[in-house]
């Protein structure tokens, strides 16, 4: 049954395209999707998910249920980087612990989108407000990380944190801005507006996801070689923490009575790790941390794990609890 789910997840064009990209990199073919094409795909996916979410949200309305979910989202986005930090401190210096915990406290939009596609294939769905929850969960980890840094690190030349720069980085980073903005656009344009852009931002969605995951596979495959440098502790961390986060959030979701599809997407958000927004912020604010660690973990370990095994695994648990 669980195996069935894995198969059903994997025999999907997006996941197969990811594997195709992964092997391309491992076998050192020169298959390459050069910039800015990956940027085109990721912009497209963010806009599409935002518009779709806004359109759904306009239909369902902003209810107390929605607010409850947003609070739960903020809660986990604040909590995860804190406990991740203390686990990581067992083995790492403050700088790397900060960068990695921030990475895991934030989310991956592509994991979210891939999971949504999995749900869609099973004939189930989730609320448009989950996109709002996702945008809320992108940034808090950056702030928490930098608070940890100022509490626990002795800055060499005592340069104080540039909080203004930092809050901007956290809350006005392009993906947060684009998701929120298009959520709003989708919310206000009404049915007629949505129909006008649906051939691009609706119908093409799943094919574009497959195209983009080919590239994600290539990039992840290239980083696989760096896993040796990462060490066994961090590899285990990159798989076990997401599972723990997912289980924890599933229990929370059950406790607070979320619907099945929403609970699943919530678990996915908690389990996923950032590989664009947070790394960019960390390279700017914590240059002492080693990007080969946090980028590799998030991109070459956690992302592939989540979209191949994590998605069916978390769904399996949820199926048990919600029936």
């Amino acid at each position: 049954m669980a195996f069935d789910l894995v198969l059903q997840n994997i025999l999907n064009p997006p996941i197969l395209m990811f594997l195709l990209g992964l092997f391309a990199a491992l076998m050192r073919t020169e298959l390459d999707i050069p910039q800015p094409l990956p940027k085109l795909f990721s912009l497209y996916l963010l806009i599409a998910i935002g518009l779709q979410g806004g359109h759904k949200l306009a239909k369902s309305g902003i209810t107390p249920e929605v607010l409850k979910i947003l609070v739960l989202a903020m809660f986990m986005a604040t909590l995860v980087p804190i406990y991740a930090f203390f686990i990581l401190r067992l083995k790492l210096d403050v700088y790397n612990a900060v960068a990695i915990s921030a990475t895991y406290g934030s989310i991956s939009a592509v994991t979210f989108i891939t999971a949504g596609d999995f749900l869609h294939k099973l004939g189930e769905s989730y609320g448009g407000y989950m996109v709002a929850a996702m945008t809320l969960m992108e940034s808090p980890a950056i702030i928490i990380g930098l608070i940890m840094l100022s509490l626990f690190a002795k800055r060499e030349n005592n340069t104080p944190l540039d909080w203004k720069e930092l809050l901007k980085e956290a809350f006005l980073n392009p993906s947060v801005y684009l998701l929120l903005g298009t959520l709003l656009v989708g919310f206000v344009v009404g049915e007629k507006g949505w129909v006008a852009v649906q051939p691009v931002f609706g119908d093409l969605f799943r094919g574009m996801l497959a195209f983009f995951l080919l590239d994600m596979g290539i990039v992840a495959g290239r980083r696989l070689g760096d896993i040796r440098k990462v060490g066994i502790f961090l590899v285990a961390f990159g798989i076990l923490l997401p599972i723990f986060n997912a289980l924890f959030s599933i229990l929370l979701a059950k406790f607070f009575g979320l619907q099945k599809g929403d609970a699943f997407m919530y678990a996915i958000l908690c389990a996923s790790a950032s590989y664009i927004a947070v790394p960019a912020a960390m390279r700017m604010s914590v240059p002492e941390a080693n990007p080969s660690l946090y980028v590799t973990m998030s991109l070459a370990i956690t992302f592939p794990f989540n979209i191949s095994l994590g998605i069916p695994l978390y769904y399996f648990f949820i199926n048990h609890l919600w029936g």
């Binding site: 999707i33 050069p34 910039q35 990956p38 030349n157 590239d215 994600m216 990039v219 290239r222 980083r223 590989y275 664009i276 790394p279 960019a280 390279r283 700017m284 240059p287 990007p291 080969s292 980028v295 991109l299």
Partner: protein, 94 residues
């Protein structure tokens, strides 16, 4: 005149330009998306996350200014890596 050349990780380019502005050079030229290898390993560009990319800057200025740039840039090079070069050059003025 001196030609000052600097290679630095792209994300920190602004810090270098700020130094050039502060010292008061009359101009500079920047080439983005330069790759390289140095103490901190290979910078071959990572398409998705945009890490591991350098920028190359050069500015032509008086020897005096060049020295000031060298002074101000040392701590940055120490913290963030990169290289800074100086050489003699003749500026053809119209």
């Amino acid at each position: 005149m001196k030609k000052v050349e600097i290679v630095v990780e792209s994300i920190h380019l602004n810090k270098v330009l700020e130094i050039l502005e502060r010292v008061g050079v009359s101009g500079y030229t920047v080439i983005r998306d330069v790759l390289g290898k140095g103490e901190r390993g290979i910078m071959a560009g990572d398409e998705l996350t945009d890490v591991f990319k350098n920028s190359y800057v050069f500015a032509v200025c008086s020897e005096d200014m060049a020295d000031k740039i060298a002074e101000s840039i040392k701590p940055i090079l120490k913290k963030l890596g990169g290289v800074c070069l100086m050489s003699d050059v003749m500026w053809v003025k119209h």
